[in-house]
């Protein structure tokens, strides 16, 4: 049986976190991943305190196992939702889009394990200084907002730079990826895209179909000109954005405006003309819908088998 220090740290069986994907990571998905032995996460995205509280209570009714909340620090409701996780007794918080320093003392006092998502060594160092429990080093293979480094290059550099446990994210789609992440020095992984096609994931059927049909080269990064690149599937909408981005006469404000609400349109409406279908590069590795339990079991079996077999290279 495979076990890493992350299992003990978070009180879970499989060292797998489900990514805090905005509009996607709701109570249904979080509870399903936690029930399967991983750590499910609810994304607080740009929602207010009451929405998050309702989702947390819904998830509590569906699972007795721990689950976490992802807080996007740029959210206009960040202060509110930061308080809700304390009030609702959430034990794990992951953070994105900034440094969680200002909430850290309240969270640590409440016994919350804080896991900032970082995309560079400097980010990881700031997270460590502010009191993070561990960091999630996310490479640019992942879907959604991305940094510049790949997981292969980022994870070992973060492992060397901080005295905290490191969780690898980005580009991990099966047991081979998880085994590789452990070899790079991580104690576990976070996966987003793999869970997009889970039975318990509520994204629009067109979204799932697009992920299932995607090939290796079917994602792209839009928003580079705006300074915050986003990895998504190539669709009529993302192709249009790419074209406008390359045209310097199109003002940045117009590009920003086009992105507003676009993820919701993809997730809830499957709108290929106006929606942003965020997805990681491993979409090309996903060929079927599975339950979260099947995904986690498969990940664990594959990883264990690969790690056991790794000795074959030593002569």
């Amino acid at each position: 049986m495979m076990k890493t220090p992350l299992c003990e740290l978070l009180g879970i069986e499989a060292p797998i976190l489900q990514g805090g994907m905005a509009w996607v990571a709701d109570a249904d998905l979080a509870a399903a991943v936690s029930n399967a032995g991983g750590l499910g996460l609810i994304s607080a995205m740009n929602a207010d305190a009451e929405w998050l509280r309702t989702q947390i209570r819904k998830a509590k009714a569906m699972t007795n196992r721990p689950f976490g909340v992802n807080i996007m620090l740029m959210s206009p409701f960040a202060d509110q939702v930061a308080q809700v996780v304390v009030e609702e007794g959430i034990k794990v918080v992951t953070t994105g889009a900034g440094s969680p320093g200002k909430y850290m003392s309240a969270w640590r006092e409440a016994g919350i394990t804080v896991l900032p998502v970082v995309a560079s060594v400097a980010y990881a160092k700031i997270a460590q200084r502010s009191g993070a429990t561990a960091v999630i080093a996310e490479g640019c293979e992942s879907g959604g907002h991305i940094g510049e480094l790949t997981t292969m290059a980022l994870v070992p550099q973060v492992v060397d730079a901080v005295d905290l446990p490191v969780i690898a994210a980005g580009g991990i789609g099966d047991g081979r990826g998880m085994a590789a992440a452990l070899m790079l020095g991580a104690i576990g992984v976070q996966m987003g895209t793999r869970f997009l096609t889970a039975h318990e994931c509520n994204v629009h059927p067109i979204y799932k179909e697009r992920v299932l049909k995607a090939k290796d080269i079917d994602t792209t990064a839009t928003g580079k000109r705006l300074g915050h690149p986003v990895r998504c599937l190539k669709t009529p909408f993302s192709r249009k954005i790419m074209k406008l981005e390359a045209d310097s006469s199109v003002p940045a404000a117009e590009l920003e405006a086009m992105g507003v609400g676009a993820l919701r349109k993809a997730v809830q409406e499957g709108d290929l003309e106006h929606g942003t279908f965020m997805s990681g590069q491993i979409a090309g590795m996903i060929h079927k819908e599975q339950s979260c339990a099947e995904i986690i079991r498969e990940m664990m079996d594959e990883t264990e088998q690969i790690l056991r077999g790794a000795a074959k290279w030593i002569k």
Partner: protein, 76 residues
């Protein structure tokens, strides 16, 4: 060196340009800084000023950076 000169020096060194190109009104966008660059710059500024800085979304230009640094110096 006053605060502006120190900030200009740090930014200019990071970007490998002449400090005279940095003005009070210069924005991070004009300098082509993304969020990863800003984290690096924050670390460099911490060293230059011997202060602990936090990331803030309000930090968008030289002016906001300096007023943030001055608010911390006032507390110190």
């Amino acid at each position: 060196m006053n605060n502006f000169e120190t900030v200009a020096k740090v930014l200019a060194e990071y970007k490998e340009i002449d400090p005279s190109e940095i003005k009070m009104e210069t924005t991070f966008e004009e300098l082509g800084f993304d969020s990863l660059d800003i984290v690096e710059i924050i670390m460099n500024l911490e060293e230059a000023f011997d202060l602990e800085l936090e990331m803030h979304e309000s930090l968008v230009d030289v002016k906001s950076l300096i007023s943030y640094i001055e608010s911390l110096q006032a507390k110190a």
